[in-house]
């Protein structure tokens, strides 16, 4: 039984100089067989395992991770959480996640530092204004909080924004989702890992999948760097490497993997107490609890698995940041990094069964998967346990690329991809 984290446990452990904290999760060797195996120990994979164990009573399962948990895109994103998507299917999916976020720290007994500081999306031209107004209406019809702000209201909400109308891309207005915000990304992975582990899920790190064994159209197991694991159900949550895993099963996915970059500044005192995103100039910024500005840049246009992007992408983002926030002109950037994001042609994810029985894919989250972590895990667990999708992720099936029922969130998702 896990010790509960509380103010008392903190006090008790302080007395022994924090040297006797219990391990948050075990480090087991893989068993010969599991009821289900999740490939990929990022936030989405761990959440999937957690909800499989918790809601679907599947405790004999494993998460295999080629590196360490949360070492991929879960630890590389800019931690923004929002649900102000245009289309009904997306609104349902992302708001389902947002609702889980609101109680996640209590549920996991792990402080994921979810902070509903609001997300503001800026409009810089007439088309932006029209699109963002349309999106606020669509959001409100779907029960998602959204307001449209004019230039003065934008300035009032975030005073450091340069709202002068003589800049290259003047701020004409913006939308605000107050329930949106940020969370501590590593804590999400650790919290789900701890929760899943407590219910008996084996989290196996440094275990890379080498091949998927099938007999006919049914999966039989996976060959890994730690040996063969027999299983009837495989849920692949491998983000940028989804196509690589799909290839092992002889499947092709409608994905392209591209580098996406982010950077943080030196830590400073509180200066921006919300998240501001701009689609048109591709710059978004928030401030971490440590005081660093967290800045998201764009993707490169070429396919790459190298986890590094081009310099001009970062430069373009910083140009935009400086024009919108002249106060940042003397800030120094501390770190810059890249992650590999798997982008779908319609910029919406895939949470789906496949043509192979027992093989499920959760991928295609592109540049915006972090916000969906709890909802994605919950719905993917449902899909795996019942061998059919939940109504909230039914639209995000693989077959939509054949039927043409795309969920086109390019641009409409409020951020350029």
């Amino acid at each position: 039984m896990r010790n509960k984290y509380s103010i008392f446990s903190l006090f008790k452990n302080a007395l022994s100089y924090h040297e006797n904290w219990q391990r948050a999760w075990k480090d087991p060797a893989p068993k010969k067989e599991y009821d289900a195996v999740i490939v990929g120990g990022g936030g989405h994979g761990l959440a999937t395992a957690y909800y499989l164990a918790k809601k679907h009573n599947m405790q004999n399962i494993a998460v295999v991770e080629k590196g360490w948990i949360g070492g991929g895109n879960t630890g590389r994103n800019t931690t923004i959480i929002r649900s102000n998507y245009l289309w009904d299917a997306s609104a349902g999916l992302y708001d389902h996640a947002l609702k889980i976020w609101e109680g996640l720290s209590q549920e996991l007994n792990y402080n994921v530092m979810f902070s509903q500081r609001g997300v503001m999306n800026l409009a810089h031209n007439l088309q932006d204004v029209r699109d963002l107004k349309r999106r606020t209406h669509a959001n409100r019809l779907n029960g998602i909080d959204a307001v449209y702000l004019n230039t003065e209201e934008v300035k009032k909400f975030c005073p450091i924004i340069n709202t002068s109308q003589d800049i290259r891309y003047p701020v004409l207005g913006g939308t605000l989702q107050r329930r949106a915000g940020t969370a501590r990304h590593d804590a999400v992975a650790w919290g789900y890992a701890r929760g899943a582990d407590e219910m008996g899920v084996d989290i196996i790190q440094n275990c890379e999948v080498k091949s998927i064994k099938r007999s006919g159209d049914t999966v039989e197991g996976i060959e890994t760097t730690k040996g063969f694991i027999k299983t009837k159900k495989i849920g692949v949550v491998a983000a940028g490497h989804s196509s690589v895993v799909a290839n092992m099963a002889g499947l092709k996915l409608p994905l392209e993997s591209k580098p996406l970059q982010a950077l943080v500044s030196e830590p400073v005192k509180p200066i921006i107490d919300t998240v501001v995103m701009s689609n048109a100039v591709h710059a978004y910024v928030s401030q971490s609890d440590k005081g660093e500005l967290v800045i998201g840049a764009g993707t490169d246009d070429y396919i790459s698995y190298s986890q590094k992007g081009s310099h001009q992408i970062v430069e373009g983002t910083l140009n935009a940041i400086l024009e919108l926030y002249p106060i940042f002109s003397r800030m120094r950037m501390l770190r810059q990094w890249g992650g590999i994001v798997d982008i779908c042609p319609d910029a919406s994810p895939i949470l789906s069964k496949t043509s192979i029985k027992g093989l499920y894919f959760n991928c295609g989250w592109g540049t915006g998967g972090f916000k969906a972590t709890p909802g994605s895990g919950d719905l993917f667990a449902h899909t795996i346990a019942n061998d059919e999708p939940h109504k909230l992720n039914a639209a995000f099936n693989l077959n939509r690329f054949v039927s043409g029922d795309l969920v086109d969130e390019h641009g409409a998702a409020a951020v350029a991809h």
């Binding site: 196509s243 092709k252 993997s257 490169d300 396919i303 190298s306 042609p345 690329f401």
Partner: protein
Amino acid sequence: MFLINCPYCGERDQQEFKAGGEAHIERPKQPTELSDDEWAEYLFMRKNIKGVQFERWNHAHGCRKWFNMARDTSNDEIKAIYKIGEKPPTQ
């Protein structure tokens, strides 16, 4: 960021180029006879290879010509550059 040796202009900064995705995807000869599955395959499904991949590039801020490239996507190393219409290198 890397340098690309345009077959028409010589070595230039990657910033001048636009990536055009997977190469050698042939446009269906008889589009009217294609099934939905075949359309999906042509339009959307991609190999998205980790390793050496054949892809199209366009010298957008230069000669504006298209050409092909064999590039290792795991480390961005360019293995070969060849013109449109030429067969991909075998090694």
